[in-house]
Subunit: 276 residues, 2 copies
């Protein structure tokens, strides 16, 4: 389901993503794809090594053309951020200085708040190999860093942009447990439906002499009922189970449903002797 | 800072990542890299198209060798999940059925809870082109889906694994606003320090006839103090500002610090006439 779907609202707003001296077109394209997935659209490049436009970037963007087509190129970070009011610098390394350091969740909430109040914001991402210089970080208002494995910290720029874009999208949700689709409506069965299942099963088992010795009957019934009530069954699940028990009850291996066997539907005990 | 750092704890625990019929070695490698970044280490492949091991996967994994080296290959999802007690299926499309659908945050919390209680869990990811079949989804306990842009939903498997791995790491944090490093300690200045700044600035400005007309003096002072108190200044910031005002006050363009100019440090008015 790649590519834009014109029937659905295309989210294209929020902070600018600013890549400082990105080297590989593929990475720029993956960045655009990551942005598009989570509703960001404004990509800015500072001195891309292989120039711009880039066919490699476009193909790696997997149809995120609305991002690629509007990507702008600048010579310096100062120019790339001139119209912005608040910027984050992403960094994996600890930096000297007094700048606040934020987790992605917190940074995304801050960006969302500023977006709602009409402020223009941006997020700076450094070079593939060595990130941002301290001087570049110093141009940002705050630092955002990712909670990576202490012994293996190796996010590439497309991965870092993906995580910030994802948190940006989440920051628009009233409830982070929201999902874009829901399971089919599940109605828990009424107790009457549950007791109906108990009765059917217990009657059929009783007719087969299941509850022996008699002294154990009550305990056996309790255990059976415990098994069937441990997980709250839905009405649908109960009707499925009743069908299963009913099938075991009415039909035999030798006399399946539809046969004229002894317990075949509609047949009567009197017919039995006519069979062989 | 790619690669494992033996001085730091290497996180390698948590749910198994199960890729169903992945096609490109590069994607498998990016999946391993994403996992390693967020402390996951158990990768399982069901029928990788180009076989296993894969040099392309190893190079794309960017030194996540501890994941690549222990990757296991299976013929079927049933075999790949046989030892697990709970699995999620990732899907972007709505599916028919009654399975609970969870957001990544909720799924990660569930996986963390089960991990703490010693249960073995896994997350299923589908093929690059068309994901998981309904039959494959039916083998999982619950569904997890990502809050993507309705009009542009195009996450590749490495991106999907990255997001789940990231949420897994976050689920280990007491507070999602935690960061791996902190800014240098910032002490807000005492009011005495702030008043000291006011006095220095106002005295120096007053000596220069800044507060005119006299009737406006009080208002001008209030405005100046408002500017300096709007953002809570730290002790360090106040000493920097005092140094700035002091420099303006003591030295002139023609008589910079270190010169023997009229107001030069240590010079006395009496010396002035000796200068020209």
């Amino acid at each position: 389901m790649a590519g834009t779907n014109s029937e659905l609202q295309l989210l294209a707003e929020g902070p600018a993503i600013i890549l400082v001296e990105p080297q590989l077109g593929e990475n720029i394209g993956m960045v655009a794809r990551a942005m598009a997935n989570f509703g960001l659209a404004e990509l800015r490049l500072v001195n891309p090594r292989d120039g711009w436009p880039s066919e490699k970037a476009r193909s790696a963007a997997s149809k995120a053309d609305h991002v690629i087509d509007h990507t702008r190129v600048f010579d310096t970070i100062e120019e790339a951020t001139a119209d912005l009011q608040f910027t984050y610098a992403t960094t994996a390394r600890e930096r000297y200085g007094f700048k606040p350091v934020r987790a992605p969740v917190v940074a995304a909430e801050t960006l969302r708040t500023k977006f709602k109040s009409g402020e223009k914001t941006g997020i700076l991402f450094g070079r593939e190999r060595w990130g941002l210089t301290n001087e570049e970080v110093a141009l940002a208002d705050e630092i955002v860093t990712f909670p990576v494995n202490p012994a293996f910290a190796s996010l590439n720029i497309a991965q870092a942009v993906l995580l910030m874009s994802y948190e940006w999208m989440k920051s628009s949700m009233d409830d982070v447990s929201e999902t874009s689709f829901e399971p089919l409506e599940q109605q828990q069965a009424t107790k009457e439906q549950l007791y109906g299942l108990f009765d059917q099963m217990e009657e059929a088992l009783n007719a087969r002499g299941y509850f022996r010795p008699e002294g154990k009957r009550q305990r056996m019934i309790e255990n059976l009922r415990a098994v069937l009530s441990r997980r709250a069954l839905t009405s649908q699940e109960i009707s499925v189970l009743r069908g299963v028990f009913g099938t075991f009850d009415k039909y035999g291996r030798q006399t399946p449903r539809g046969s004229n066997g002894p317990y075949a539907e509609g047949s009567k005990k009197e017919d039995d002797r006519n069979d062989t």
